[in-house]
Symmetry: C2
Subunit: 308 residues, 2 copies
Amino acid sequence: MEEKILIFGHRNPDTDSICSSIVKEILNKKNGCKESKAVRLGAVNKETQFVLNYLGIEAPELIEKVEEGQKVILVDHNEFNQSVEGIEKAKILGVIDHHRIANIETAEPLYYTARPYGCTSTILYKDFVQKGIEIEKTEAILMASAIISDTLLLKSPTTTEHDKKALEELGKIANINIEEYGLQMLKAGTDLDDFSEEQLINLDAKSLEKDGTKFVIAQVNTVSIEDVLKRQEKLEEVITKTIEEKELSLFVFAITDILNSNSEIIALGSRTDAVEKAFEKTLENNRAFLSGVVSRKKQLLPVIDKNI
Amino acid sequence: MEEKILIFGHRNPDTDSICSSIVKEILNKKNGCKESKAVRLGAVNKETQFVLNYLGIEAPELIEKVEEGQKVILVDHNEFNQSVEGIEKAKILGVIDHHRIANIETAEPLYYTARPYGCTSTILYKDFVQKGIEIEKTEAILMASAIISDTLLLKSPTTTEHDKKALEELGKIANINIEEYGLQMLKAGTDLDDFSEEQLINLDAKSLEKDGTKFVIAQVNTVSIEDVLKRQEKLEEVITKTIEEKELSLFVFAITDILNSNSEIIALGSRTDAVEKAFEKTLENNRAFLSGVVSRKKQLLPVIDKNI
């Protein structure tokens, strides 16, 4: 284990975190770095499982923590509070990410490649191209899936020309109909029936902190906001419990309609004022409808963070 | 001013900080980003002045601070405490750096390219090549000078194969004798006679902080350690004054013999024990001779930081 270089995305991994980890392992191995090993920091969600099933490959091994001095490469995140337990004492060799930078500190110089693109896999795609390394069908589908997931089939406002170009090229390499495959994949990811309310609020939850104020923005994708709102009472119960346990000032639960590109949010905690200010809306029944809002990174986090 | 994208290296700029800023402006402009403008955060040192004189170009404009929302690109640093006043509220579009990451936080995703190479200009050189943008004589000499400076003509332990390759190619493009030009440049930089002791300790000083403990590691290059040590008494006076004024726990002043690759350090403050532990040496007359030590980043900072 100590000799391996562990590659992983953030906690509560989404499709980009899992697929980009596997792709980075493949890229490194093709590039001569045989010790690379993709791992994951949490359960595989249904959308990602659809991708793995489609390809007939196993999910990366689950890890709970890393030992001091463990060599690691972070993909799809950089903030320590979204990373593995023990990250502070790990040896971070590299980061490939498309988020803001915060809460990261290394002792040594490293490889750090961040780009303001819609998806980590778009950066990896360009890396293959620049290094002149062949992209085979497996990694093409993995990268395409990550881009489809992060950009909601190129409809999210986080989408850039780089993502569009990459997805187009990857579709050609994989020889699949991106639109058809993508809709199947996204739909597989929005099947929320099997999840308890506790699971729902943790499916894709980001823990954040500003000036000592701790808050969480969680998100679920659906094709029917109404279906999820039927469970509001129980959702509020588990959110309130989480707020108490984790001493949060705010918990925002965004229910995103991926077909129509809107979100309904449920916001609880002592600092819901930040949400009201952010969107110039009064919460009613702890809720607000945010027309056109689908991206946590671009449309939720910055404005809420600013008003905390 | 507001419309410009300001590009700058760290405070107390060295040759890499100045040259890489100018080169990044050139690269951006050749790449279609006309608003780019190199600036600097401090006086031009003698070594850098030699380069600018050689090329017959002006130093970038000096700036004291940036306004809120100012678009900036950081080269050769990322830590806010080494950057411009107001950096916390600037809009950081990009970072090109070869140091560890710490004390940086952005609100938005950005371009961040860090590589564990000996010099920022080596990363820029590769960027020219990858983008297929022509390197002309001016930028070739600027990048070569930065690499010569940061790697002490490829003799510093921070030197990588990437730096060697880049310097070789840049020498060919510029059509200069790297060894001859480099020695002249380094020698020009070690003429310390005109400097007051106060200036000497600030020529290339890095302010650092660990767990609330503030310390400074300053460095001067010379061809005669003995010449500098003749001024030890007065140097200690101004270092002691700086420690009091800035509430430092430690001030390390490294006098580096660039021809023989050794350093003599003067260490003062309440935490000189960190230096003694770091190098397993007892300070005598506040001094220690460190054989083979020339790199602050690789041989001084990590071991001192670890023992703070």
